[in-house]
């Protein structure tokens, strides 16, 4: 794994995907595989977005986790955010996130996610505040490697 001043900088390495659409998109993105709430056997891709204040969870995945609808007893706060799809109403809910490693070790962390039933299906973003700013990460764009480790 990566070291800084002979001390571990990261604990795991994953391969990121820069397109899931057969290169139809104009610019490359960075999709990394994660799982939520300790469901280590169920992974999905989420897009890194260092320019976003908040992480946003696909509402369909949120529903499958029981985060939308009745009976959700988690801490949540109603807010509305100005997004690329307009001003959306939703909830901010803290969730456990695991970055999945191909080499080294997975990384567990937590972050608040914005969940709105009006957000388009199939899109999950990992934003900067409270998620990416709480871990260490590095990219090797030539090899499509995403390195990650616990924050200090």
């Amino acid at each position: 794994m990566l070291k800084l001043d002979e001390v571990d900088f990261t604990c795991g390495r994953a391969s990121f995907v820069d397109s899931l659409k057969n290169f139809q998109e104009p610019t490359a993105k960075i999709f990394v595989k994660i799982c939520l709430e300790g469901r280590i056997d169920s992974g999905f891709y989420a897009q890194l977005d260092t320019g976003a204040a908040w992480s946003v969870l696909d509402p369909v995945i949120a529903k499958s986790l029981g985060l939308i609808g009745t009976g959700n007893l988690r801490t949540q706060l109603n807010i509305q955010l100005n997004t690329r799809f307009g001003i959306l109403k939703g909830n901010l809910i803290p969730l456990n996130v695991t970055f999945l490693a191909r080499d080294g070790q997975h990384l567990d962390t937590s972050a608040p996610f914005f969940i709105s039933p009006d957000w388009p299906e199939g899109r999950t973003f990992l934003g900067y505040s409270g998620l990416l700013d709480s871990i260490r990460f590095a990219l090797d764009p030539q090899r499509n490697h995403f390195y990650f480790g616990p924050g200090i």
């Binding site: 280590i40 992974g43 999905f44 891709y45 803290p94 409270g130």
Partner: protein
């Protein structure tokens, strides 16, 4: 003529209301500062305590789960090759093999619950 400088009116809103406003405007750092200030002031309002929980600094640590992830390229290649065929559907993939598909993620998960594979599955929506 010089104008009399007027002190701005103090913000009389509750901490929870002010934090809510900052969060909705993406001032996350300022919201966290206000949470810290409110804690120092001994704020106990129920709505504020929710904000304190949601905005608490994340603790990241090495996972105890040791089973490593597989090479993603076989799944990614499958998605690229079959995207037209499965557009608008959720798929469950394992090392480049389709395990289940449906327009409903719940249905895909139900199919896997009926036939568990005991391995890490990729769930993906093809749009």
């Amino acid at each position: 003529m010089a104008q009399v400088l007027r002190k701005p009116d103090p913000d009389t809103r509750s901490y929870a209301e002010r934090i809510h406003d900052l969060v909705e405007n993406d001032y996350v750092g300022a919201a966290r500062k206000l949470v810290a200030e409110a804690v120092e002031q001994g704020e106990k309002d129920a709505e504020f305590l929710k904000w304190q929980k949601v905005l608490a600094p994340a603790v990241s640590k090495v996972s105890r789960n040791k089973e490593l992830d597989s090479d993603p390229m076989s799944d990614v290649n499958w998605i690229r090759e079959h995207r037209a065929e499965f557009c608008g559907q959720w798929v469950a993939l394992l090392e480049g093999e389709l395990l289940a598909s449906s327009q409903s993620l719940d249905e895909v998960m139900s199919q896997l619950e009926r036939n568990p594979v005991g391995r890490r599955v990729l769930f993906h929506y093809i749009d």
